[in-house]
Symmetry: C2
Subunit: 140 residues, 2 copies
């Protein structure tokens, strides 16, 4: 994966600024930040940390992608950890649209790379949906 604007020591990244600017309808899932602007996100310790977490999650996903047991276990844990936020299940896939858009602001993405990300997102989301159904959580 391209080195986005982050390194292991937690250099700031602006994924959430991008999300709040370009997908403001997703702000509803961030309690207390529903009306945040990109400028509010920029100065927020919460979103600094969350930015680190979400990029680490994507890095982990890419690394475990070919290890089916780990991928399934990771999807399961990720769904459980997000349960309290009552996400629309479609977001497990839609997030990758956000992410690919963000990545495109950092590096030039060719079609092949975009398709690879879409494919990763699809497999991950389908596993999340499978687990949601199996565990009787609501799924639209």
């Amino acid at each position: 994966m391209a080195k986005i604007n982050i390194d292991a020591d937690g250099v700031y990244n602006d994924l959430y600024e991008y999300m709040f600017t370009n997908f403001p309808e997703l702000r509803v899932y961030f309690k207390g930040a529903e009306n945040f602007t990109a400028a509010d996100v920029h100065t927020s310790e919460r979103f600094r940390k969350q930015g680190e977490h979400i990029l680490l999650a994507i890095r982990i996903l890419v690394n475990v992608f070919d290890d089916e047991i780990t991928l399934k276990s990771y999807a399961r844990e990720t769904v459980n950890r997000h349960r309290e936020f009552k996400l629309d299940p479609l977001l497990w896939k839609a997030f990758f649209t956000v992410f690919v858009g963000y990545l495109g602001t950092k590096i030039k993405l060719d079609e092949k790379t975009k398709k690879a990300w879409t494919s990763i997102g699809k497999v991950f989301a389908e596993e999340c949906w499978r687990y949601l159904k199996e565990s009787d959580f609501s799924i639209s």
Copy 2:
């Protein structure tokens, strides 16, 4: 990594039973379970979940091991997530002694495999210690 007694759907694993039996001095880090026996662990929903989490963490570690940025970021997040438990920093390495012992109850381990696990544990622990020092947390 060997398929230990767990799969993606969360089949029970007995790593914590092994730990509580063979390393009872570590129970002090599990608030409310300081006096748990293996039998108590066995029937505990908390340790069922925690058993899943810790095996997933090991699977992730193995998968990201050769991706330095992700490995560092994962060590950092793992340290932060454990900060509240006030672990002896030596445990970041010592845990792998517990784990290799556990693994040896499941599969036959040759010397090469044991050394590989020790090496993984050493690299991971050293990154945890580096981050602990850098972030001014206490380290013995």
